[in-house]
Symmetry: C2
Subunit: 450 residues, 2 copies
């Protein structure tokens, strides 16, 4: 009997054979190429900081679930277990429970979407739908177009399938059509394969802007004529402060858009229920990918969400959330005006985030440890770019802290920013200033990512 | 402004532009190469049949959740919402809730596993952990070793990452060490990259056999000396009928084995809570992959499972399940002896499945439509092979139907088998017999896959 011996083995005192080697990971050589794309994001690193109670975290994206009618959720659960217990506890359809998919059509109708219940696929949060679409479409080297900046969690998914994100410029009206045209032409000229445009048209994460109604048909036409699929990610669409967001891109081109929706912001992320509405031909493959990944989404979670939608005044609850977030956004924008007038920022009409631009001399990533020392946290702008940009920007989220905490946080941030600017003034022209590198931030779970 | 026009556009009567083309899917050319591996499995096709109430389904893998103490589950939910509502409704750690991971260590200790809470990663069912491990390790063309036959849902995952499954022979004592050695040597001789051995050591799905205690160290040693990682999938391990299964492979080699566990069979699949226990170095990458795919598993589901484990006598509940499944297994094996003595079958000491081998003249896939006509369903053996084998075998599951239904189902199956054999006798030597191809089976959700 011959065994190829490619490993040196040693035996420890308890008799268990151990691999020896000069690498900390004995399986280092065995990972797939795509595993190299699985790096901890910069935003991830903030959680340990943000979770300390004395820190005002303007970094996370946690919805304010305490505004929910908890009794109603408990009674939904009880009813589900009483009336459909064995169904709730069992495996279910890989596509999702039909009754919930019908209700999802009602939710999407608010944004002008008419779809078929057969084309809705429920998922473990819309993040899973994002992952499945990426798995379905992205070969190594493919290009995904995305706004500049873009959602860090989406870029991570695309990277995990070895695709490259190419950013397209946006302004206060969202993605710029001419920039999209030029980027496509440029990439096509280089022979690159563009697989889809990933876009968050409403109350953008992280930029806080909304794609204008005027630009929507133009963006669709550019993608249509270039045969580029659109992946429309819309977790915040119903959380507007004044007038509603324009109708969804999906409402204007059912065959050209995969739409992603979520109950994480309009109800609660703890159930992990999101969905995709896909063109019919794609939908079939999406279900197969979903079944391969998890067999079926949680029957229990889906039934509770379905029962909540059936019995609660969920539209009124969304109004409540809108009021909560609007008050917090106002507090943030007012505090920025009061304490940091030398910076510029977006003033979103919905969603969770304000995008702040600092003078070029400041670096948000290098500044973060000082901010944490002053007990305020934010997300450095570089997290939202695939190409190293964003050093002079940061994302501030107003979804979770109270208005008072937000004001306190911005005041602390002003102390840090003004301190940095003073330092720079002091050393101006001497050429000796070196801002310290980030340090002391621990790795952390991803609840801060959305 | 130049737009490359690669698509012909037409406008329908409602004014919506439509892509034209000779393919039913306008995005046909855009899928990733791996999407070709996402085919509907043969087992999937059985659900529509199995769900008709008049059919005795011996095809599915649904646990008998009605044996659960539903009141206790409801009170666990109520307590979770009352005491930890805002946590249950919120995003959580990507690795999973620490309290639950501690309890998972207790569950695994029953099978001799000593692990660190830091190395447990909870997942959306163990299927997701399987998918994440595959994503982390499998490049196109890589080889996964698996028993012959193997779990259809695992082979689907490996195929979705463009890997190839190579089967290793097993007998009534499980995987055959010498066959494993020879297969590795043969593949290495061809220069193939073997990434891991996927194995279900206990109460195998679909074969119903258990890897003997004697063989376990030998299998581990073969893999260790060949630097092949082991992926140990153990959803049924605690559901033994007589003596417990031998200690887990993971208990003997913490650095060489990724262990997958699940609450789907010992509690309920509807929560979608499973886990992986990985070598420390791998665990970090697994968490990153999990976060990329779904941000975090459901906090609510995890807390309910955790509360159930803390308050219920879950060991006694597993005893109850064991009694239920044992009675059903006995009913099946007795009925097979009574009605189909000309076939052979495994007599499992736990789990959900019996593997039946028929005379070579019979084809289980071709026979299926006749079985369905006789109101009994099973899973053809070909579903569990990556290489076309299994035509003369079938998987019968005893987990869901009552003992009476099982006896009825086996009697019906005997009618079909005997009818086929009679037909073959009648036409013997004439060379004119053509068994009909499978037909009339609709696509279906995946709750039948486990």
């Amino acid at each position: 009997m011959e065994i190829p011996s490619r490993t040196e083995l040693a035996v420890t005192s308890d008799g268990v054979p151990q691999r020896t080697g000069n690498n900390l990971d004995p399986w280092y050589a065995n990972y797939a190429e795509r595993a190299a794309g699985l790096a901890a994001s910069e935003v991830r690193a903030l959680f340990a900081v943000a979770s300390r109670p004395e820190v005002v975290s303007l970094a996370g994206g946690m919805p304010f679930v305490s505004a929910l009618p908890q009794d109603l959720i408990v009674s939904s659960m009880d009813k589900v277990m009483r009336e459909q217990g064995p169904v709730a506890l069992q495996y279910g359809s890989g596509q999702g429970i039909p009754a919930l998919r019908e209700q999802i059509l009602e939710v999407m109708a608010i944004e002008g979407i008419r779809g078929a219940v057969d084309d809705v696929v429920t998922s473990t949060g819309s993040q899973q739908a994002l992952d499945l679409v990426a798995k379905l479409f992205l070969d190594p080297g493919d290009v995904v177009l995305a706004e500049a900046p873009s959602y860090v969690g989406a870029m991570g998914v695309f990277r995990s399938y070895q695709a490259n994100v190419v950013h397209v410029a946006m302004d206060e009206h969202g993605l710029i059509p001419e920039a999209l045209r030029q980027t496509i032409a440029h990439l096509r000229g280089q022979g690159r394969r563009i697989k889809f445009l990933y876009t968050i048209p409403n109350f953008h994460n992280p930029a806080g802007v909304t794609l204008s109604a005027e630009r929507r048909p133009e963006i669709l036409e550019i993608c249509r004529s270039n045969e580029i699929l659109i992946l429309e990610d819309n977790p915040y669409g119903l959380l507007h402060f004044d007038e509603p967001a324009p109708n969804a891109l999906r409402s204007l081109d059912p065959e050209g858009v995969i739409y992603l929706g979520s109950f994480s912001k309009t109800l609660a992320p703890g159930f992990r229920v999101g969905w995709a509405l896909a063109p019919h031909a794609i939908r079939e493959k999406l279900i197969l990918a979903a079944e391969s990944a998890i067999l079926s989404p949680s029957s229990f979670s889906q039934l509770v969400v379905s029962e909540y939608l059936a019995t609660a005044d969920w539209r009124a609850q969304i109004d409540t959330f809108r009021g909560v977030y609007r008050e917090r956004k106002d507090a943030m924008v007012e505090a920025l005006g009061e304490y940091l007038p030398q910076l510029s920022w977006t003033n979103p009409n919905g969603g969770f985030y304000v995008w702040v631009t600092m003078p070029d001399v400041l670096d948000s990533k290098q500044m973060l440890p000082r901010a944490v020392k002053e007990l305020v946290a934010y997300t450095p702008g570089t997290a939202f770019f695939a190409d190293g940009r964003g050093r002079h920007a940061m994302r501030l989220s107003f979804c979770y802290p109270t208005p008072e905490a937000i004001r306190l946080g911005i005041r602390r941030l002003a102390t840090v920013v003004n301190g940095e600017l003073d330092l720079l003034d002091t050393f101006a022209g001497t050429g000796t200033l070196q801002l310290p590198p980030s340090a002391g931030i621990e790795s952390a779970p991803p609840s801060d990512l959305k």
